[in-house]
Symmetry: C2
Subunit: 392 residues, 2 copies
């Protein structure tokens, strides 16, 4: 039986265009807040896992610098990358450092400064996160195109309409408008989403997550230390992860991200969540809505809806507050932003905030069971991490 | 008490210029060999940690592709970077995945394809592994310059001569000449080293490790599984790691890499090695000789010699076979090559090979206690991993 691990401190920077801060300064903002929130001495942090995909930043190997900026006592540190699931991979590495018994307190810190490179360069670099050689180099696929394939397959198979999928953006901008840390803080109407220009049909500009700078941090502690630090630890109750083929031509269909289903099963089993009706136990979820369609696939991969019925959840406002299971009350990647390395750690920050009932007015879920979920995928869905957080 | 972990399988590609193979193919070569050597089914590998610093490769996010090439059963995977200690960081992550109890078998696979970019680009990218903003961007320091500072300080303080430091290259080329996996397989004379051109005074061309492509892999298993797989597991007996300031101006002196001393202390304590005379228990060591001077600093940081006396060990052939403690019998980074992500994993491969008494003729240490050590540093010495391997 592994040691229990809790998140005892969280920190977040505003997401957006952050030309005011270097990568180390961004990391400092979030990390310092997490240390203060945890009430630990920086010197007690025994390990630092930095989630940073990089490629667009001049500072290519930032882990030690970040440790130094934060005044840590020069513990072990490393940088982790798992494409857009980088932040969750950093949490896994910090979690393992504690469950293995090697340290009692560790930090997962995700940071990305994507605006350092021009947007076309960033889009090109992200494009390499698929199957680089065959799909990017030979066919020129970039991410809007990848997810457009999923959207067209889904519409074709289940009869969902462009409007149905576009509703994801409307919900997430609505909640993002109440999140002072979000990149976009204004609601958008369905008509605005529908009339925004096509990026890759049927996905339109307002259905794509933006290029974002930002950082997020979480301090993790063993049970013994967590109990001393706080009366309200948030336990990592289940952590499922899986990878799948990076090769589109080898996928059975484009109607779901298969590794996400496997990761969810593993996380539910570890956390004692009934996979046939997870929404009965989970109060609130964040899911990886890099594009609108991705959120709908996530509903189905996570068992929130049956196959082909995810878009109906949205129509019925079942993933709004008051519905079956509210999703992305922080605005999601769509409105909050998607600073790649920070995204997964930002989901942990949001889970803790919701379970502490400290989300801003209008976007706080009704927390009954004290359970939250984070779903973070990478590549074209070939990395998946699903984490279940619980107050007990 | 953590679970014990052993290396049960190793694989290595020839190091050198490998324009014949993609990054995934290189990884496949080493990974397949490690899987066969371990006698495991690829599908039993529960986690894959890929060590890859990247930056010079078009395939920027290779972890999942490598998993797929190797026929793994789509387990969790991620990429790890800790500058030139990347390979050891991958071993740490795979080790923690087992000691944490989350999986029984994991693979650490280091791979780098540095020749994909032109050499000046590679040297520039490596230069960013120091303190990028102040030292690289403002002062233009690259790695030969960094280590030249250490060499001049050492010569000034202890009276060592250029010839004394150059002897590292002579020893390592000598042993590399017997290693069919080494990039350079011919011995060099001291006069050749001395007459090679200066890269950064006092360091000459033949004192610098080369730009290298290559991969190395290790299959790690829990004690229970290891006992079933093999009669000759090699246990990870101690793993020490530390970071230090990346900022030269904050270092007390340039006469050692302080984090390496701390990492050694931690590894010795865990492994039950007497830090005052580690050479009494350790049969053979690999150390991070990215530049000749680095090997001499390593002797002192590891306690093989007193401060200022490391170069004398070499003079007396105490780090040759038959001496106090033989070092870098695989040729070291100097002659075997330094494919960054693969280097640390390659050290583990060498430790296992030596402890199995399977090193090639002329470069096999006399294994009495069954204990080997690997010393891998990153950045300008601000990352350090020291690992102790043992047959029991």
């Amino acid at each position: 039986m592994s040691r229990r691990v809790a998140i005892v401190g969280i920190g977040l920077t505003p997401f957006g265009k952050r030309s005011d801060a270097s990568i180390s300064e961004l990391a400092f903002e979030a990390g310092r807040e997490a240390i203060r929130d945890a009430g630990v001495d920086a010197k007690d942090i025994g390990f630092l896992a930095v989630g940073n995909a990089g490629g667009w930043s001049a500072e290519a190997l930032p882990a030690v610098l970040i440790s130094e900026y934060l005044g840590l006592d020069q513990p072990g540190s490393l940088r982790v990358e798992a494409a857009c699931a980088t932040g969750s991979a950093a949490i896994k590495v910090a979690y393992d450092a504690i469950t293995s018994g090697s340290v009692d307190v560790a930090m997962a810190l995700g940071v990305e400064r994507m605006n350092e490179s021009p947007t076309p360069t960033v889009v090109e670099l992200i494009g390499r996160a698929g199957n680089y050689f065959w799909e990017f180099e030979n066919f020129g696929l970039t991410f809007p195109g990848y997810y457009a394939i999923y959207a067209t397959a889904y519409m074709d198979r289940y009869g969902a309409k462009e409007e149905d999928i576009a509703e994801v953006a409307v919900k997430n901008h609505y909640y993002g408008s109440m999140n002072p840390y979000a990149q976009f803080q204004k609601p958008v109407k369905l008509e605005e989403v529908m009339s925004s220009r096509y990026i890759a049909w049927p996905l339109k500009l307002l259905e794509c997550s933006p290029i974002t700078d930002g950082a997020a941090a979480a301090v993790l502690a063993s049970e013994e230390v967590a109990r001393k630090l706080t009366d309200s630890p948030v336990w990592i109750k289940g952590m499922g992860y899986a990878t799948g083929t990076a090769n589109l031509s080898k996928r059975a269909d484009f109607l779901g991200l298969e590794p996400a289903s496997r990761a969810a099963k593993a996380a539910y089993a570890q956390a004692g969540i009934d996979p046939s009706r997870p929404y009965k136990q989970i109060d609130v979820a964040t899911v990886h809505d890099c594009f609108s369609i991705a959120e709908i696939l996530a509903y189905e991969d996570l068992g929130f809806a049956r196959r082909g019925e995810g878009y109906m959840l949205l129509k019925e406002h079942q993933t709004h507050i008051g519905g079956l299971i509210p999703v992305n009350l922080d605005g999601g990647l769509k409105s909050k932003g998607h600073p790649i390395g920070a995204t997964g750690v930002g989901m942990a920050v949001e889970a803790v905030k919701q379970l502490r009932r400290k989300a801003e007015r209008g976007r706080q879920a009704d927390v009954k069971n004290g359970v939250a979920l984070a779903h973070n995928v990478g590549g074209t869905g070939h990395y998946a991490y699903v984490t279940v957080y619980s107050i007990d």
